[in-house]
Subunit: 407 residues, 2 copies
């Protein structure tokens, strides 16, 4: 399949990821939809691993997501497996979709000895077409035979759809003189087209932690990373984040701030990579809001700015159009006072006290807009609420990818 | 000023509007920003007229809107005036903006004998620049001298900014053998860029009606017309709808369904014309939702579909991509059950029971998408809630207009 050109915002190269003891990976070319590339990945976690996760809140979520949600809250010491295919999302496929998930879980359980309740599946790709799960099941023997703790980078390739680069991030920290490792992969490009660009994230660590503690940590960090990125305000039917802790480092990280920070760093890195691969993106945009009446209000304002087509097209045009920021704050529905509002592009104070700043010169704003990384900062002057979200610009490239490719 | 080409969705011509006794109009070229065109319109309503209105809910609304909102609830038998300029929105101009509004109202009151409290202003155009109100005041004598009841079409031209065609609609009905007339104009293109495309609507009738009754009617009908259109989900700092009833027909229309229907017809016609002039639009799209758990849920689903960049780009590409409709319903936050959902493109049943309809053939959906007018119908199968909204597609033209024109 011809791949689109690599995003201009992509990192220079895929990172070296640490090996996670107790986690092994394999990939296969099952021909679900694509030819001449891998399209299935299997992750197998050793007994003693715990799994936490977060999922799309869409009311039309896929059969895979519903199945994962039913399983995620259970403790289980038998280990676990993640089985993911690209090319077909198995979303909006009615009862047939549920049958596909059950067939995949049963086949993998049969081959590995795991209970089916410990198999977590995900599918990403075209919506509304029956998943040819037999093609995946036919590759399970080969997948299990190929499992290796060094194949995580290959797994990042196998789950890509419209992504222009594979996404990975890792961390290694010391706790009491012992090493704890984290390694994760993600896919997503567009937040998030149900056709081809669902966001999937898998993170592995050898830390030792109780499942409820990991679940609470994942939910909290997810709200400050993956839930604060937006490419086009559209939400997938299949978004899935799974974090597995094998415990094999022997280091108990419950309540350890250093581990929490390292995990957050990996999640934020992967979240930013999804934005950097946003469909048609030419600018990576950080929108930070401070001084809001509450944290919720700050997030509402930040997302209103980040999702505004007029703000995003202005950025695409390298136009320091602060009037559109004012508009987006005004329409958000959260508290704002025109005369207390201030706006900065990077270090440049653009507007304050309900008007353009007296010292502002448009060439300063224009210079900031020419950078590949744009910082928009809005202070509401009302309270202590703050939030940061990340997005990209809205370009002709986005229209071409989404309007021109199928018809 | 070079005008963009007329929208392909524009009506064939500006309609013949009925003359409204008691309402006179004038236009002038004040050079607020544009050269070689009119940019100010004055409407003068005779004593006995009542005025009702609706305004943007933006927290950063313009000084003009705040002034109109303070005045709209008052009864006043002295008549009224609407003074509107294009080229400068007087929005986010701090205390200076309030001063401009006061200066304009005082000057017009002085020249017409009206109290300043009966002068309603609006400004539309570039945001954040001080309004050169002296240029408008310098034209007030000429405006008042030129007032005529036949100049409403000229007024529709004077308030245009990025509009590609002037917008007008009228109606004439008989009540008890007597004629009642309605005539309105609107501007707007993009819903709604604060730079150049704020929506303004002025409607005049010779009907006789108490101000509170007219206000209630306008609010109700506004929620089913102008509040149900969207071009890009962005909301203006300046949106204004004013309806004036001069009473000069001598026909009391309070509680008269025929008048209400005629007024609704004029409002809906103008609302649709704003969508037909949406920035870059090539398709006029009606999204109707039925079977929702409530009317509010139906509107939430309809707006989620109409505002989705992925739905709008699919329509631009004439792609019958019903998976994106499923996605937009799923993300809206309102109640939905995947397995009860059905989707139609025009008369074509596309999806039902949580999957593609067994009889659906993609060429049928593709044929509907090739029309200039697209009908998307979603039934939730949950209750009696229904709503209809109108939008346009998202094209390269939108990106060009909003990303390329200023930088």
């Amino acid at each position: 399949m011809a791949r689109p050109p690599r995003s201009p915002l992509a990192p220079a190269r895929f990172p070296d990821l640490p090996v996670i003891a107790g986690a092994r990976f394999a990939t296969a070319a099952a021909g679900v939809r694509y030819r001449d590339r891998t399209d299935v990945m299997l992750a197998l976690l050793d007994p003693g691993s715990v799994v936490a996760g977060a999922f799309t809140r869409s009311a039309t979520r896929s059969a895979n997501v519903l199945d994962c949600q039913a399983k995620i809250g259970a403790d289980g010491a038998e280990g676990a497996a993640f089985l993911v295919n690209s090319g077909n999302s198995n979303a909006f496929t009615g009862k047939a979709g549920e049958g596909s998930v059950q067939a995949l879980c049963a086949a993998l359980a049969d081959r590995t000895g795991l209970p089916a309740a410990r198999v977590f599946t995900a599918s990403t790709g075209v919506i509304g077409e029956r998943l040819p799960h037999d093609r995946i099941i036919a590759r399970i023997d080969a997948l299990v035979a190929d499992l290796s703790d060094t194949r995580l980078a290959a797994a990042a390739e196998a789950i890509m759809t419209t992504d222009t680069f594979p996404k990975g991030a890792g961390a290694e920290i010391e706790i009491g003189g012992q090493a704890v490792r984290i390694a994760g992969i993600a896919k997503g490009s567009g937040m998030i087209a149900p056709d081809m660009a669902t966001m999937l994230v898998y993170i592995f660590t050898d830390a030792q932690i109780a499942r409820p503690d990991l679940q609470a940590m994942v939910q909290e960090l997810n709200d400050r990373s993956f839930n604060n990125i937006t490419v086009d305000s559209d939400t997938s039917t299949s978004d899935t984040l799974l974090v597995a802790a094998t415990g094999r480092s022997g280091v108990d990280v419950s309540g350890h701030v250093g581990f929490r920070d390292a995990l957050f760093g990996v999640m934020l890195d992967l979240a930013h990579q999804v934005v950097r691969d946003g469909e048609g993106a030419t600018k990576f945009v950080t929108v930070s809001v401070t001084g809001a009446a509450s944290e919720g209000d700050a997030r509402t304002h930040a997302l209103s700015i980040a999702n505004s087509p007029l703000v995003k097209t202005a950025i695409a045009g390298e136009d320091p159009n602060w009037g559109r920021i004012v508009m987006a704050v005004g329409k958000s529905g959260a508290a704002a006072d025109r005369d207390r509002l201030s706006i900065r592009f990077g270090d440049v104070l653009v507007a304050e006290n309900g008007w353009v700043s007296p010292g502002y010169r448009e060439e300063w704003g224009a210079a900031h807009m020419k950078q590949p990384e744009i910082d928009i900062h809005v202070d509401l002057g009302l309270g202590d609420g703050q939030a940061t979200v990340w997005t990209c610009d809205l370009t002709h490239g986005y229209i071409s990818i989404n309007a021109d490719y199928r018809s």
